[in-house]
Symmetry: C2
Subunit: 378 residues, 2 copies
Amino acid sequence: MRKNYLLTPGPTPLPPKVCEALARPIIHHRTPQFQAVLKEVYAGLKHVFQTDNDVFILASSGTGAMEAAVANLFSPGDTVLIVEGGKFGERWTEICRAYNINTEIINVEWGKAVSHLEIEKRLKANIAIKGVFATLCETSTGVVNDIKAIGSLVKNTSALLIVDAISGLGAIDLKTDDWSCDVVVSGSQKGLMLPPGLGFISVSAKAWVFAENSRNPRYYFSLKAAKKAYDKNDTAFTPAINLIIALDEVLKIIKQDGLEKIFLRHRRLADATRRAMKALGLELFAPTASSDVVTAVKVPQGLDGEKLVKSMRDLYGVTIAGGQSELKGKIFRIAHMGYIDEFDIITGISCLEKALTNLGYKFELGRGVKAAEEAFLK
Amino acid sequence: MRKNYLLTPGPTPLPPKVCEALARPIIHHRTPQFQAVLKEVYAGLKHVFQTDNDVFILASSGTGAMEAAVANLFSPGDTVLIVEGGKFGERWTEICRAYNINTEIINVEWGKAVSHLEIEKRLKANIAIKGVFATLCETSTGVVNDIKAIGSLVKNTSALLIVDAISGLGAIDLKTDDWSCDVVVSGSQKGLMLPPGLGFISVSAKAWVFAENSRNPRYYFSLKAAKKAYDKNDTAFTPAINLIIALDEVLKIIKQDGLEKIFLRHRRLADATRRAMKALGLELFAPTASSDVVTAVKVPQGLDGEKLVKSMRDLYGVTIAGGQSELKGKIFRIAHMGYIDEFDIITGISCLEKALTNLGYKFELGRGVKAAEEAFLK
């Protein structure tokens, strides 16, 4: 007998209701039955995005929604400002460059959050900047950025604020409208507790003006086509039907639980995880800006980080994430996002203690679990 | 009690094994466990595509794979030849125009197949043509085109042959390599008996040369990125994990049944459906080129075609398709593709007889079902 536990920052475990919805006999998408589902889902997404803007559903992973933002809003030769500081910040740059858009980069040290003052400085220094690309939670480093502060700056300029909220939406706070986020993109396999395959994008009135003027080619990711279909409770192209039906279930769960309560739960899980890491003598990778969705932890000197992650998964059935790109082998990441409860975290920490022991790391067995238990008892 | 029957040309009903696979606990995609699945799936897709070319999987619907072909192979100002003759032929034109590619159109009458001689004539008249876009089965009209004949012409030119096999792949014959199809695109929700959400694209050596020279922007649909990941049994971006796991099951079913036997089954279902329509005094919309995946039928004079389709679905639970675009209300379409057996067809015909009777159409009750039974007994 072997049970599997998933503590990765996407995909996240699926609630039983989602598994059940995914397995239902499929229905046709151009029917009143499916339109009724779409109507509920479109309303539910506005609730989760905390926006009055339209939120469109794409049959793609989150990167498709990122490309939709770039392809629809800008034109070759435009200049944009990109906050890097991890693999996903860099993805904005890659996409913009693929579209021949000039990129100004804020090269944030991996593990740190961006300073909004730096953004202010750059916007003032170059008034040609038409868009600011930021990341809510940089999954590769575990950092959460202060989107509220960034939004309060960008809203006073002619530039758009485009936020990658793929990791984080539905798990930590993101007030699209209150924080003046013109475009927010997300995906299904993180806080929304679904398999990957859906991309989401919200578009403000300010952003629609940019969409009107963009000269980039686009078809599948055309926001204009998405909007035309949306207004009829439809999708521009064949939707990922069963994922959307499962999304309907997720949105009902979220509505019932309440966003504030969900955010609090993620904060508690993250806090307990961070305390446990410290109790084990481990160092957080992003101590000053650690997100509530994934905790990145430095691999102790002399230990093989890749072996640690592999042994947890292959020997004990607990899948966490290793480091990506330049952090490969140097950090591991425990996600506490989506359908995760306190005992999943206890399981993850317990398994980590087991694997660390096997690798010869010196610590008092049980101290991590104890620290988490103490946090949960508060 | 009400049972539902789906006889639409996508989505098609899901085999129980697929529903079960969709409902499994999700696994992470960057693991040896998922790589093993991808390895099997990549091999299985080659089998279904009847090709030695690489077949890439995109998290998108079929239109995304169509856009991938256009975005990766051509450049603004290039000239291509497009076979229209239905809504999906026209989609090639729309995508090419979105990318500023010059389009020469062969405007085939809806309900007819393209003449390969017309293609030959056009290719000879304009040697600047760099690509020929065709549709295996034009879902909107039920027409099947002779891709083999088209391939044998195009292979002797410097142009590429790009085939939309979204409807048809895995249900009717398409020999990618033997018929010299440079690029074949498909989707998951038709012959492959899955929910929508996966796009597929195969790329020949001849097409890769075009991909090297294309100046179109692309990122999510980049074939180069897809290839790089493919070679490591990976995908360029987060894959639609549970759809791919279910695809693995489908490909095993197809392998076990055998392609020839599957094609024969579709031919038998189509033949019985066509005979039934004639026995009811109804006229086929594409009598000279009717595909084995969907049968398009003219709505008899004086009958409301939309009401017919609606009453079958809303009163009796049998979903067939109506006409699209200019054929709205003028035809109905019964699909016999994917996980459909003889008794599903009998059910569909029986329900049609019921609905026709209600609408006042004069015919001898049971004649359609009898004609299908006779065909099945052969």
